[in-house]
């Protein structure tokens, strides 16, 4: 349903359109069952960044403090992109792996359930 306005209409286009991010796209990343990290984090990332770099550089920047971090077996990690299970290819770009502007990428570590297995 359209918004009712008194003076004209809202401008076309979105305030956070990809063009406004200087060649980057926004990606939200969250580690399930680890709420002590916080909400999903948002990063401006080049679409051509390899998925492997996202694993080796981006994700540790927010999660490496966690006692579970060094126990992660990355081969067992389950990935969920915008609500769908994916199997990412590390040397392909995030864009080629289906990560688009404002995608939500969640990962689950089946054997690790947070601090004292409380989901924290």
């Amino acid at each position: 349903m359209a918004t009712k306005t008194n003076f004209g209409t809202y401008p076309v286009g979105n305030k956070d359109a990809i063009e406004n991010f200087h060649g980057n796209q926004l990606v939200y990343i969250a580690w399930d069952d680890h709420l002590s990290v916080g909400p999903a984090n948002v990063f401006p990332l080049p679409p051509e960044m390899p998925f492997g770099a996202l694993i080796s550089e981006v994700i540790p920047s927010i999660t490496s403090f966690h006692p579970d971090f060094e126990k992660i077996d990355w081969d067992k990690v389950q990935w969920n992109l915008d609500g769908k299970t994916i199997t990412p290819v590390a040397d392909q770009s995030i864009a080629d792996n289906g990560v688009s502007h404002k995608s939500l990428l969640r990962f689950k570590t089946p054997d690790l359930k947070g601090y004292q297995s409380t989901g924290n």
Binding site: Y10, A30, V37, P39, A40, N41, Y115, N120
Partner: protein
Amino acid sequence: MAKKLNMRKRYELLTRGLGWEPTYQPKEKVFPQESYEGIKIVDWDKWEDPFRLTAEAYWKYQAEKDKKLYAIIDSFAQNNGHLNLTNASYINALKIFIQGVSPLEYGAHRGFANLARQFSGEGAQIACQMQSIDELRHVQTQIHTLSHYNKHFTGLHDPFHMHDRVWYLSVPKSYFDDARSAGPFEFMTSISFAFEYILTNLLFVPFMSGAAHNGDMATVTFGFSAQSDESRHMTLGLEIIKFIVEQHEDNLEIVQGWIDKHFWRAYRVLGLVSAMQDYMLPDSPMSWKEAWDIYFVDNCGALFKDLGRYGLRMPKFHEQATEESEHLSHQIYTVLYQFSHAAAFQTEVPSKEKMDWLSEKYPNTFDKYYRPRWEMYAQMEKEGKRYFNAGLPQVCQTCQVPMCFTDISKGNPMELSYRVSEFNGDKFHTCSDGCKSIFDHEPEKYAHAWIPPHQIFQGNCGGAEMPDVLKYYHFNEDDSGEYKGSADDNSWKAAHHNSNDDNDIKESA
């Protein structure tokens, strides 16, 4: 001598017969905002203010309230009343208040001034004028009162500058901007009814009581002084809803939609209050959950039973708000804790006594879900690695709260709640069914929301590095971070070094 007119007659003379029918311009052009929302007003004379205050009585009582307030503020300052607080950490709640709430009072002042101009009924014009002046009085008295604390504590120095820029303040700001950028009837439903009537008791009553409990007589006094006006505003909010719905049958559905929307918007803003109440008051007289049960479940239950005969029902998603009441403060305060390196207040892991109080008040949730989190952070702090989140959070497109809420209503209290909508080729993320439903109803509006982390990445907030952004926020170096060892903590300890006895403290100050 003529007999004094009775109250009804005096009110009638003030509010009737002062308007006129325009002759050289059509009425729609004189009151250009009155009809586009679809609300149909047949007879403005049916508008009846339950408090029939005349202008004379209004000025008399307001002057009296101010006189009392300023006498107390003066004596508070002369006696260094700030030294009688339970603890300086309490001041962090006041920082959020003046940064987050006082600018809303100013927004309300402007909003009601606009309504006084835009409504064509004289009764409504008078009521909105008085409320506009009330709101200006509130912001002024709050600034005057808290300016004493600004001489002694951090974070209180630039509230209005911060309000327009800082990430956590975009939560209250965006709610008021949402209401103020809507039409006059929606603004009225939002602020007077959803905010003032349904929820304002949850803000002021426990908070002021908390201030009294923590030795802050100055805040108690401005709070009560403002609250005496709020009672009038609340009553007006209830009357206006009945008035609109009774004017025309087409109005009911529109008003119910606004009640649904603004209840949820205002409720999300109050998440900040829940954190202040449960975590930031060193001594809390009442938990958020207890306040919610009294002021929402009981009180609004009674209210909507009464409104049922007008065809109005409880706001959509109110069940989810009640289900969240045992989780809300813990989730919000976690975010404030994790990101307080980028906030103009300080936070700390709750003390052992505080955690025991939280266990007692939240027997179903605290020990199971939240205590382990605080113990983990406490352990990290002990190891010299006090936890701050190293990135920027995803925030909800509608309420702009960092997406810390979990799917409680779906039985997953430890799984973050994600909702997403597509609009105009992009994805828009929201934190809850309530916020998604609001977004989906007016995506054209929310697609233009000023989302703080996104604005930082677009380069609109002073620079790419955290110090640049904090400078853009006008933060001082000692405004942020961990409370323990902060400037406030240190100066408090220095002032209370010699004795715990109140008399000695006053003398040494």
